[in-house]
Amino acid sequence: MSKLKFIRIIVGFISGALFGAGMIISGMVDPNKVIGFLNISGNWDPSLMFVMGGAITVFAPIYHLVIKKRSTAINGDQFAYSNNTKVDGNLIWGAIIFGAGWGLAGFCPGPALASMGGGTNIIFAFILSMLVGIVFANQYLAGRFPLPFVGYREQCDL
């Protein structure tokens, strides 16, 4: 195994473990806490604002002061982020559908993965359904799966 590949895998594992730990410690893994944050007309719990605030406070300075000034990552890989600024229908509709699902059950992908160690069937049902949703979306984006009201995606705008 090359050194580059080794760094990729070991950094992936460490980041994953830190990310999962952050999800559990912050309380994002508790759907009631998530709903409590989204329920602004009820007994509002602002904790999740602190999660996002804490994350951006650490990430943004490292990104703007260190990462952005580099041409490649430390292991020599290209940076994967894009500088696309086009706000299109897919972005907005995707966000609407994702937000609705998030508000419905209080789970988003990160907390769901971090909760897998708990082993309840609820989490496995969520993850499996999420995988189905991802496959549907990939098929729709490839023009092979029709949506209600929308139909097949036109291929010309790719």
């Binding site: 994953g16 292991n75 969520f126």
Partner: protein, 140 residues
Amino acid sequence: MENFTPWTSLAGGALLGLSAALLMLFSGKIAGISGVIAGVLTPQKNESSWRAAFIVGMILSLLIVMPFGFSLPDISGENILLVSLAGVMVGFGTRLGNGCTSGHGIIGLGRISKRSIYATATFMLSAIVVVFIRSFFGAI
């Protein structure tokens, strides 16, 4: 406000930011969880092993935090049909919109990406509306 946990939420959030920064600085990757999961389903050369390692790390993270007294909440009372429907919507929406709370909400906002600002504002609003409708019907 009795469930308000500013300090653990801030500390947990800082870990999320640190994780995302490490992953990007060392290997150039984006710690967007929906993207990591979707990438495993449609593998590309050199893009699968780190994603698999990331997912394994996330699943094992419970073992790391348990000695410090953190545990997972009891969610066995959730409605499995509702959760499954939500799962399909979350999977579909994050793929169509190219990101979730981590990719858009942390990394995208941190980078001041225009697409992520629009996406985050949209999914927050959408989720708040759905929760409002549910509470209106007494479901919360």
